[in-house]
């Protein structure tokens, strides 16, 4: 009876852990923005143009560059994404994780804005 109650308590704890922790990890693979995907330094941020309808409108872009250009012509890029001005608009933190090297090493960079 003693062992049975311990096993039951362990099962209850495991069930609570699964209910609390696992859905958050599964639903959002980027961990709420803390673990971000590798930034695409060749693209800008946009608001799309809205075609005719109730609220038609033109598009907008956040920065003047980079702009979409053909692949065979010269282009611009963002040299260091953590220094982009929109990151300083609110307090947050982020981890940039990317593979480095063929032996499975990885580069883990932590950035804080406050």
């Amino acid at each position: 009876m003693q062992i049975h109650s311990r096993v039951m308590a362990g099962v209850v704890c495991l069930a609570i852990f699964c209910l609390v922790e696992l859905p958050a990890a599964d639903a959002n693979p980027i961990n709420g923005g803390v673990e971000a995907p590798t930034p695409d330094v060749f693209s800008n941020y946009y608001y799309p143009a809205i075609p005719a309808g109730a609220y038609p409108g033109v598009g907008a872009q956040l920065y003047v560059s980079p702009r979409p250009v053909p692949a065979r012509v010269g282009h611009t890029w963002i040299t260091y994404p953590p220094f982009m001005p929109h990151e300083y608009l609110y307090q947050h933190r982020r981890r940039y994780i990317r593979c480095s090297g063929a032996m499975g090493m990885r580069n883990d960079t932590r950035a804080y804005w406050w």
Partner: protein, 131 residues
């Protein structure tokens, strides 16, 4: 002994709950349900009004923090102010052409403006980080 185990399990569960809540509060991407609601409601809405900014010749987006939820607009008369939800947010994928057919012509700011939207400066929330 059984009672002690029950109390211990309860405390462990409480600590787990508090940890998960703290992690939810500390995340940078905003609250999931709120973000989804704002995204769905702002999908087919333009970010500007019918007026343009004469200095720029077009409506000017004003970048505000992504944690913003509302904008205040002021005018003469009644009502003299209104608080509007701010759904629009900059995002990563290139949406295509900047102009879509069917856009209406803009009006310049009148000589005696009666509303702050007539200045042609409209808020768009900044992006959540790199996506």
């Amino acid at each position: 002994m059984q009672m002690n185990w029950l109390v211990l399990c309860g405390r462990i569960a409480a600590v787990m709950l508090l940890t998960a809540m703290a992690a939810q509060l500390a995340e940078a991407g905003g609250h999931h349900a709120t973000e989804k609601r704002y995204f769905l409601r702002g999908r087919n809405k333009s970010w500007h009004s019918g007026w343009y900014n004469p200095a720029a010749g077009r409506p000017v987006p004003l970048v505000v923090p992504p944690t913003s939820e509302f904008v205040s607009e002021y005018s003469w008369g009644v009502p003299s102010s209104r608080v509007m939800p701010l759904y629009q947010q900059f995002r990563k994928p290139y949406p295509g052409a900047g102009y879509a057919p069917g856009s209406r012509p803009f009006m310049p700011t009148p000589d005696q403006p009666s509303d702050t939207v007539q200045f042609g400066i409209h808020a768009i929330r900044g992006p959540w980080g790199s996506y």
